[in-house]
């Protein structure tokens, strides 16, 4: 079986600083991986490099998606192939309605995959159903992308996109930050609804609580640009009890 996502000995620099110092992670279809680790350990950097954000220099290692070299692809190609990143800090785009953005994005991905374009009514029907399942009010779709959204609403908008685009691998960068308990449960339900034998999730979080809702198959601890420990879901509980200090030396 080919892995869905394989990060092999990845070294990444930003300007003159090496931030990832040889990171390895293998994600198979159907699996849920959690990545935990202190602030600044490189979690978001990893997610950005997987999504193709400019400004990062990969000096060594590789990232394969279904065996293909992901680093050779433009960000939009990666999206069309099924790589999705729910951003830790989703941006605001004034003047572009959420509805128009989602429609344009979905059709761009479909076009890249050689699928038919969705007409406005077809799209409306689809997006309404998804929004409803995530408790997202319709009028949020009429507003500018994330403009004036609360922190929680922005995160819910990310989950909405994930549900709409139906990607193969979902990287969720701190989707729980800023969500109240009810919103967290709804968002987690949305993520769980997308769990399938073909799809994989990489959940980046600081809090074990999220992992009560989205139960991972594997937990990895990142420190200083490396994975320093991997284990099952119990590792998260262990971390909650004892903190990261024990791993700092290992890194």
């Amino acid at each position: 079986m080919t892995a869905l996502l394989e990060v092999k000995d990845l070294k990444v620099r930003v300007e003159d600083n090496e931030i990832l110092h040889g990171l390895t992670l293998t994600v198979n279809p159907g699996e849920v991986h959690a990545i935990m680790g202190p602030n600044g350990s490189g979690k978001s950097t990893l997610s950005h490099v997987i999504a193709g954000k400019p400004g990062y220099e990969v000096t060594d290692g590789q990232i394969l998606f279904r065996g293909e070299d992901l680093l050779e692809m433009e960000p939009d190609e990666r999206a069309a192939k099924g790589v999705f990143l729910a951003f830790q800090y989703p941006v605001e785009i004034p003047g572009v309605t959420t509805w128009n953005f989602l429609h344009t994005a979905l059709n761009a991905q479909r076009k890249a995959r050689g699928e038919s374009q969705l007409s406005s009514p077809e799209f409306l029907k689809k997006v309404r159903a998804v929004a409803k399942s995530l408790n997202i009010p319709q009028d949020m779709l009429k507003r500018g992308v994330n403009v004036g959204f609360s922190g929680g609403e922005k995160k819910r908008n990310e989950i909405l996109q994930m549900a709409l685009f139906e990607p193969a691998v979902c990287i969720l960068d701190e989707m729980d930050s800023g969500l109240d308990i009810d919103a967290l449960r709804v968002a987690a339900d949305g993520v769980n609804a997308l769990r399938s034998p073909e799809r994989a999730m990489v959940v980046i979080t600081h809090y074990q609580r999220l992992l009560n809702y989205i139960v991972p198959d594997f937990v990895h601890v990142m420190s200083k640009g490396r994975v320093v420990k991997s284990g099952g879901k119990d590792l998260a509980l262990e971390l909650e009890a004892s903190g990261y200090a024990q791993f700092e030396d290992a890194a």
């Binding site: 939009d76 951003f87 004034p94």
Partner: protein
């Protein structure tokens, strides 16, 4: 020395073409005299160049080089081509008035069933047989501006619209300028809109090229008087051929409690200049001007506005958005004068430029001259590139680089386009922006 030589040569060529064209220009007696005087005024300066302050960024001597000879009147083939081009600009429910190669085309225009209180004549008719007052009004624009002077000298045709007191027209009036000639030529048009008291109308002006029309020059001017308590909504779209030149001037006067809302967008023409003077003559009036430039390649587009607050209690808002790609050059000059009597003036101007390439340029020249002490005036300007983090967010969602840029450009100009009140006209402007965006991808 070279410049002097150039001026003499083009000057002479033009003097000749004015002499040649003279018999084709409508009007005798006072009209002919006014034309000659205007031509002399033009001829003293010739094409404006960068050492004239007002033309610093738009050196027509370098950009245009010469004034082309007067275009021949359109033949049947030209009218047929024009008819095809006009179709693309059709707006539901508008009354269409078409000028082909600078000549009013009755067959392409809709003059039937004019509403009560609406009168439309051609400029030619009015210059040949109009009353003296109208003829005088047609020559009001200040010939100190060489391009206005040239237009006064050479104006061949146009539409003269009069709307009586108390008449509010539901149907927009759409003046379409179409160029058809494959051989380089110039057209000179002038239109007049007289809006009475308690009246209202929507005026659309479109500048387009028929298939095959390339390096022509459109010289146009518009004179508008808005009566007390009246409202004019105005949309102006320049989609001329990519090798064409468009030099247009407007002079607008507002009475008391009047309202003028205008939107202009330039996405066509190699070189264009729109110079408008807006004068408040009555108190409690309001002007909103919104402008957009969408430029790429080596396009040069200049919008020069002069807002003249001469009386108290008036408000003006200027919003301008420029998008420049490749080696394009966008110019916005906004001058606001608040005269000593114009207390309680509220005048604001905001320009934003979006540069899509390192070689693109946007010049912004605000000028506030305030002679009254109890006023609120301000201006602001920003210039920048597309936000990388927004571009990446869109690309991470599957949009190609061009698609992501297009969406952000639409958003950038959207605020100005949103100012168009009439839904059909807003759609027309959005479609024009869309054509520009599609042509670049």
């Amino acid at each position: 020395m070279n410049l002097a030589l150039a001026k003499n040569e083009t000057g002479r060529a033009l003097s000749d073409s004015f002499a040649v064209a003279r018999d084709r220009l409508p009007g005798t007696g006072k009209v002919a005299e006014a034309r000659s005087a205007a031509f002399d005024a033009y001829d003293r300066v010739g094409l404006p160049h960068r050492r004239i302050e007002d033309w610093k960024y738009t050196d027509l001597r370098a950009l245009m080089r010469e004034v082309l000879p007067l275009a021949p009147a359109p033949d049947a083939a030209a009218l047929k081509q024009a008819a095809a081009a006009v179709k693309l600009q059709a707006i539901k429910g508008a009354r269409r008035l078409v000028l082909v190669d600078g000549v009013f085309a009755p067959k392409l225009s809709e003059l039937d069933g004019l509403e009560k209180g609406l009168a439309i004549r051609t400029l030619r008719e009015v210059l040949e047989a109009g009353d003296a007052a109208l003829q005088t009004q047609l020559f009001t624009p200040d010939t100190a501006n060489p391009m206005v002077a040239l237009n006064s000298a050479m104006m061949t045709d146009g539409v003269v619209i009069e709307i009586a007191d108390g008449v509010v027209l539901k149907q927009p009036l759409q003046v379409i300028h179409v160029a058809t000639g494959a051989t380089p030529a110039a057209m000179f048009t002038r239109s007049l809109l007289r809006l009475g008291k308690d009246a209202g109308v929507t005026l659309v002006e479109s500048y387009i090229a028929a298939d095959g029309a390339k390096s022509y020059q459109a010289h146009d001017s518009l004179i508008v008087s808005i009566g007390d308590n009246s409202r004019l909504d105005h949309v102006r779209l320049v989609e001329d051929a990519r090798e064409a030149v468009n030099i247009s001037s407007a002079v607008l006067t507002l009475g008391a409690h009047a309202h003028f809302n205008t939107f202009g967008m330039t996405s066509g023409a190699a070189v264009s200049r729109y110079q408008a003077t807006i004068a408040f003559a009555g108190e409690h009036s309001r002007v909103e001007t919104n402008g957009v430039n969408l430029l790429n390649g080596r396009q040069h587009a200049d919008t020069t506005l002069f807002m003249d607050h001469a009386v108290p209690h008036c408000a003006s808002r200027e919003v301008f958005r420029a998008v420049a790609d490749d080696r394009a050059h966008s110019v916005f000059q906004g001058r606001i004068i608040v005269r000593p009597d114009a207390q309680k003036t509220d005048a604001k101007m905001m320009t934003r430029a979006l540069l899509l390439s390192d070689e693109a340029e946007a010049d912004n020249k605000p000028e506030l001259e305030i002679f009254a002490d109890d006023v609120t005036c301000g201006h602001g300007a920003t210039t920048g590139a597309l936000d990388e983090s927004l571009l990446f967010y869109l690309r991470a969602r599957g949009l190609s680089e061009k698609e992501a840029q297009a969406l952000l450009i639409q958003a950038f100009v959207g605020e100005a386009i949103e100012s168009i009140v009439n839904d059909d006209l807003r759609e027309l402007a959005i479609a024009a922006a869309q054509r520009w965006l599609e042509a670049r991808s």
